[in-house]
């Protein structure tokens, strides 16, 4: 009999996940059922107060807006990422184009947000350029609104969508597009009726990779958005740092995590089998990524937030 080393190989990963993923998650779950401390923190006393506190119209409004912004940004990201991924896959020099997609990752997230402020600000490059071209001398207010938030979110998560789309499109047999054209389909029809169904797995992955982190966005709405651009991530952070209601912050985090996890699970289950093969993505890892990103938001907030 061949000895099975699988368990041994998996052990470090299991340990890692337990310590850095399961443990923080358990702490958050525990906090959500405790009584709020006077100056932040918690008291060791069971309470459902955090969950009853969640049922308030302000929070619901922010939740709905977060959902709307996330959906809009995700749709825009995918629509831009599809042609990008396609052009990388069909390019003669894939390596160079892939490199260009990945380059932004070398710069810190916050630095890139500030770069956008430098572009869109009242005295930013864009306004200066417009002024130079003879437009309104007092400039335009590009920043601090919903549109700016969506724009920067799309920019931030574009690579996360392009990469999985590229990798599935790269495996796609482009002869199928020619066959479709040959059989009477227009160019657009060939993409929609033949390519899209065959790269569905990549699209699903791209949607999850963008929607989930955008849903938990914190820094972009804080720095780019106005007061009305607040998203759930900002509410959670405020509960930790300003209002100092840690159990409520934990309860909101838990609820969001749970709802998203269930949604992802159903989404993944719905995928037909053959598309799973194409996707090269383990649905479990998608769910896991979601949870990790939630926890990351949470822990970063505790440190004062770098996102």
């Amino acid at each position: 009999m061949k000895k099975n080393y699988g368990t041994a190989y998996a052990a470090p990963q299991a340990l890692w996940l337990t310590v850095f993923f399961a443990a923080p998650l358990l702490i958050i779950i525990a906090y959500s059922f405790l009584k709020k401390g006077l100056y932040g923190g918690v008291e060791l006393e069971f309470s459902l107060r955090a969950y009853t506190d969640m049922a308030n119209p302000t929070l619901l409004r922010v939740a709905l807006k977060t959902l709307w912004v996330s959906l809009a940004a995700t749709v825009a990201t995918i629509l831009i990422a599809l042609p990008c991924g396609y052009s990388v896959a069909r390019s003669q020099n894939q390596a160079i184009r892939l490199f260009l997609v990945i380059v932004p990752f070398w710069t810190n997230f916050l630095v890139r947000i500030y770069a956008w402020i430098a572009i869109l600000g009242n005295e930013g490059f864009l306004n200066q350029a417009l002024r130079f071209l003879g437009f309104r001398p007092e400039g335009y207010q590009f920043l601090y609104n919903q549109g700016a938030v969506i724009l920067v979110l799309v920019y931030m998560y574009l690579p996360y969508a392009i990469l999985p789309l590229f990798s599935t499109i790269d495996k796609f047999d482009f002869t199928l597009l020619e066959a479709a054209r040959d059989l009477g389909a227009s160019r657009m029809q060939s993409y929609i009726k033949v390519m899209l169904p065959n790269i569905r797995g990549g699209v699903v992955t791209a949607v999850l990779f963008t929607f989930i982190p955008i849903f938990g966005a914190y820094a972009v709405p804080l720095l780019i958005g106005g007061k009305d651009s607040y998203m759930l991530g900002n509410v959670i952070a405020d509960q930790v740092t300003k209002t100092r209601n840690w159990p409520l912050a934990a309860a909101i985090s838990m609820t969001v995590t749970l709802i998203t996890a269930i949604a992802v699970f159903l989404f993944a289950l719905k995928k037909p089998k053959e598309h799973l093969e194409v996707a090269d993505v383990d649905p479990a890892s998608i769910g896991h990524d979601l949870l990790v990103s939630k926890v990351r938001v949470k822990t970063m907030h505790k440190k004062g937030g770098e996102r």
Partner: protein, 367 residues
């Protein structure tokens, strides 16, 4: 119904500095089974793609059904392609693959069903309508691809080495089936292949290509019996080549001093002058091999030694080294009449005899 169905006029196509097609012209008749035959890389696929509309020619034009189609996209041309890799849509069932062109045209559902089953029955696949392509064998995928390409009732069907992915036995079978389908639907087939046997056995006419050029167009018999160049002669079947200067000429009778074979008499339409260097060819089955000196006039006789007899049941192939050092190939059929002939074996001294009329002059360089 007669008339040219596909006309390719002076088409050239380059990829970078590489010329894949050089001034190619072809006229293909309505309903013809027309083959493009040539070695790998000679530009067959490129020519097919120019006709289908996947490549725009750098120069020249393409007409289908008398209408200029150069520059039109593939969906606007009345021809369909059977791809070498089949290119079946993996996410659709056999039924939906075949129905695809009809769905694009928004054909009513009832008519779709009727037409799809009509075409599936043409390729005997009704029973597999609900399978996905991944559940089919190579031959079945091939049939789906054919049914799908025919459902729009194109006036031309383009087939790019459709049998190359099948094993030898299935290939023979599918070839006969293709021929039967061609008879049934009666449209023009343009069939790309690098296999001369395939092309000879089903084509009405063949265009032999090499290095981006069309070298010869003709019926299988013309191509085989009357090759226009040494390349065609060598590419189609096996052949023997005689090269040397012309010694004398009387009418169509040319005497040539062939290297390694002595004087050879050729009776061919091609006129060569004394002093020209010519190349003549003869097929191996047209050479008689015997132990005794053959008694006949107006016949070429070359003496040699059997270097290699290759027995293969229905025939024996002899490789004979002539006294002058040339090597010739001879096929001898094992028909009933030859049973009385004494067996010819390895190292035997033999006489090779052949008629002047069976030789063809394929090259002629002015002396």
């Amino acid at each position: 119904m007669k008339g040219s169905d596909v006309a390719v006029s002076s088409v050239s196509k380059s990829f970078g500095a590489f010329a894949a097609l050089k001034d190619v012209s072809l006229e293909i008749q309505k309903g013809e089974f027309f083959s493009l035959l040539g070695p790998s890389g000679c530009g067959k696929t490129t020519l097919l793609r120019v006709i289908a509309g996947f490549e725009d020619p750098d120069a020249g034009s393409v007409k289908i059904d008398g209408a200029e189609v150069t520059g039109l996209s593939p969906d606007k041309r009345h021809c369909n392609t059977v791809f070498q890799s089949y290119a079946l849509f993996p996410h659709l069932t056999v039924f939906e693959n075949v129905a695809f062109p009809l769905r694009i045209k928004k054909t009513p559902a009832r008519l779709v069903k009727e037409l799809v089953f009509k075409h599936l029955s043409l390729v005997q696949l009704e029973a597999h309508a609900n399978k996905k392509p991944s559940q089919l064998s190579g031959g079945q995928k091939q049939r789906v691809a054919i049914a799908r390409a025919l459902i729009n009732e194109p006036s031309v069907l383009l087939l790019d080495e459709p049998l190359s992915a099948l094993d030898a036995k299935l290939r023979q079978h599918m070839l006969m089936e293709l021929d039967a389908i061609h008879d049934k639907v009666g449209i023009t087939f343009i069939y790309v292949t690098h296999d001369q046997q395939e092309a000879l056995s089903v084509s009405d006419r063949i265009a032999v290509m090499n290095a981006g050029l069309v070298l010869q167009v003709g019926s299988p018999q013309q191509i085989y019996e009357n090759p226009a160049s040494e390349f065609v002669a060598r590419f189609i079947g096996e052949t023997n080549i005689f090269q040397g200067p012309v010694l004398s000429r009387h009418g169509t009778l040319t005497t040539l001093e062939a290297e390694g074979c002595g004087t050879i008499l050729v009776d061919d339409e091609t006129i060569a002058n004394v002093g020209d260097r010519i190349t003549a060819t003869i097929r191996p089955e047209k050479i008689r091999i015997s132990n005794e000196i053959p008694a006949a006039d107006n016949i070429n006789i070359v003496r040699g030694i059997v270097e290699e007899p290759v027995y293969s049941g229905f025939q024996t192939k002899y490789i004979v080294r002539t006294e002058g050092g040339a090597r010739l190939t001879i096929f001898r059929q094992h028909a009933a009449w030859s049973e009385g002939i004494p067996d010819i074996e390895w190292k035997d001294k033999v006489y090779l005899s052949f008629s002047a009329r069976d030789l063809v002059i394929v090259e002629r360089d002015k002396g």
